[in-house]
């Protein structure tokens, strides 16, 4: 098992609107993959293509080595807004899971619900946003998937519930060794849990790679204004901002930058992702960026 998800030229159009354009990815199994991008970047579309809820307009996608299939026992999916049946109780959700999934882990489901302090007799419609998300996650993990997909699972949660949810997710991923792909428009959410990152902007993949490697190859450079921009093989300026006296760059380079005109500092994940998101928002720079590759 090497690839959790592998796509080639994957494209999804709704009428005239292109939600995902020419996406080529290879996400290795065994990672917690963060899918980050602004709203409308195509994160939900990519996840729904992966779990077979959507069919691609063009291109190919293989999930766990086969075509994506809705209703597969190998994939767990927590949809956006973590839908649950408002009229069913927590216990009835677990009963539904047991009826509909051959590999259902009753013990895992029940102990998770107990650990979370949820009342099994409570109607799901009366749960708080955090509890709802936890119930939806429980439904997805108790079917014992090999690949767990989560679409903005914490978007509607307060910071405490967010932390608890991500904590639970990390424990599960570590215990079971499943591959996880989780989308968010907030890098801070992903920073805690993800070891692999995909940045989607404007329906395109902008960047992908292991977090450690990405952090090791991105640098913040500061120097006098209009200092010559460092160039060379494998050096790419992701983002540049200038004040009257100084310039600040985010640069991707496999080799360390030892240009005396610039001071190099490490970047954190948020700064790095924001550099990509900001730069993509400037249409003029996009072409330059493309040519740097």
């Amino acid at each position: 098992m090497t690839s959790a998800v592998s796509t080639s030229g994957l494209t999804k159009r709704y009428g005239r609107r292109t939600a995902l354009r020419d996406c080529t990815l290879d996400l290795p199994a065994g990672h917690v993959v963060g899918l980050v991008g602004p709203n409308g970047a195509g994160k939900s579309t990519l996840l729904q293509l992966t779990c077979g809820l959507l069919a691609p307009t063009d291109g190919t996608i293989a999930v766990l080595g086969g075509p994506p299939a809705n209703g597969s026992a190998r994939i767990g999916f927590v949809a956006q807004d973590t839908p649950v049946y408002v009229g069913l109780t927590v216990a009835e959700h677990l009963r539904m899971g047991a009826h509909l999934n051959p590999a259902w882990d009753r013990q895992l489901a029940e102990s998770r619900i107990a650990d979370l302090g949820l009342d099994p007799g409570q109607k799901a419609g009366r749960l708080s946003g955090g509890q709802r998300a936890q119930l939806a996650l429980t439904m997805a993990v108790a079917k014992h998937p090999e690949l767990l997909l989560l679409d903005e699972p914490v978007a509607a949660l307060d910071p405490l519930a967010r932390r608890e949810f991500l904590q639970g997710l990390m424990e599960f991923a570590a215990d079971q060794g499943v591959s996880v792909i989780m989308s968010s428009h907030l890098v801070a959410d992903l920073e805690r849990v993800c070891d692999y990152l995909v940045v989607l902007v404007g329906s395109r993949v902008r960047m992908t790679g292991e977090v450690d490697e990405l952090l090791g190859t991105h640098h913040r450079l500061t120097g006098a204004r209009r200092a010559e921009v460092p160039a060379g093989p494998g050096v790419e300026v992701v983002y540049a901002s200038h004040t009257d006296v100084q310039s600040s760059l985010i640069v991707r380079s496999s080799a360390p930058i030892d240009d005396p005109a610039w001071t190099a500092d490490p970047v954190d994940l948020e700064d790095m992702v924001l550099a990509y998101l900001t730069e993509a928002g400037r249409p003029g720079r996009e072409r330059t960026l493309e040519s740097h590759r």
Partner: protein
């Protein structure tokens, strides 16, 4: 999936069971009295003078509560398809698509086709059971009155008797499901379903049922005894309608024509049929006009063959719409 279908449907099922219980209680309570009077009237198993006995029997029973129940029985079966389509069919899928819970349930280990098969079959069987039992009760209870009036093939009764209500209810149910699947909003789907079911209820007796029946054409000489009504307008245009050739038949057309075969329209002879004349004089004048009655009708004896044919057509439409729903679910629903 069967458990989930039942769990989601049980409130609606309870409402259906209550409706069934109310209908059953009302009809079972009044049935002994109705059947006693049927047997006591002499109409049951009559050999001679049946028409008079039938009239006397209906005059006797179609009063008060019995008359109300007789009418309500018809009304319930005409409304049932709309109720089933709007409250059981339309929300079945639309509610899931609206709340997003389809993404939850399709993420379990179940294909969406199987999900819909179980829902359609489970609730569809409930539709058939409810409609079948109510139609059975109403058809049985109304039996003596229908026998006396002999008119259950007419459009006002036909779809409230026998097996045809099953077809209408099943068709309305799948229309509701498909509308919900396409509209993706429960309330919108319910409204559209109501309109569509009403359209079907109008189109079937006016457009489809005449094609399924084998109408009998008859031509008879004008008989003043059979005059049903006469109208004369100010410009002497006269219309004469005659009673249909067979009592209780479903009359498709009934025309009074002149010697050339055109519909008789006068002009009326004012001295005979106006204020100066009298009914007898006018009838005599009409008889001299060489009129004929040309009628086309479906005799009451075709009731069961027409019932099964209409059920067949409705069942075929139901299957087609159900198959289209599966296609739509697989190809067009996200």
């Amino acid at each position: 999936m069967i458990w989930l279908t039942w769990r989601q449907f049980r409130t609606q099922a309870l409402v259906g069971a209550v409706l069934l219980a109310v209908v059953a209680a009302a009809l079972l309570a009044t049935a002994p009295g109705l059947f006693d009077r049927y047997h006591d009237s002499g109409f049951a198993g009559c050999a001679t003078g049946c028409a008079q006995l039938a009239q006397a029997f209906t005059d006797d029973v179609l009063r008060g509560a019995t008359k109300t129940f007789y009418r309500v029985g018809v009304a319930v079966l005409f409304l049932l398809p709309a109720l089933v389509g709007v409250f059981w069919g339309a929300p079945l899928v639309a509610r899931e698509l609206e709340a997003g819970t389809h993404r939850l349930v399709w993420s379990q280990t179940i294909t969406r086709s199987r999900w819909l098969i179980v829902k359609l079959t489970g609730v569809g069987l409930a539709v058939i059971l409810l409609t079948g039992l109510i139609s059975l009760l109403v058809t049985w209870w109304s039996g003596p009155i229908d026998e006396a009036q002999g008119d259950r093939i007419t459009p006002l009764l036909f779809a409230a008797r026998g097996v045809v209500p099953l077809g209408h209810a099943a068709l309305a149910f799948v229309i509701g499901v498909l509308t919900g699947l396409i509209a993706r909003r429960a309330v919108l789907a319910m409204g559209i379903t109501l309109l569509l079911v009403a359209a079907v209820q109008i189109a079937v007796p006016t457009l489809i049922r005449p094609l399924l029946a084998s109408p009998v054409s008859s031509t008879a000489a004008f008989d003043p005894e059979r005059i049903d009504g006469i109208s004369i307008s100010n410009d002497s245009v006269m219309r004469v309608s005659l009673q249909p050739p067979v009592a209780g038949a479903w009359v498709l057309s009934n025309r009074t024509v002149d010697a050339r075969g055109d519909e008789f329209r006068g002009p009326a002879d004012r001295t005979k049929c106006g204020r100066e004349g009298s009914p007898e004089v006018c009838e005599g004048w009409l008889q001299a006009q060489n009129l004929r009655q040309e009628a086309s009708y479906v005799p009451p004896g075709q009731f069961w063959s027409l019932q099964w044919r209409e059920l067949g057509v409705l069942a075929a439409l139901t299957v087609l719409i159900a198959m289209f729903s599966f296609w739509w679910l697989r190809r067009r629903t996200t």
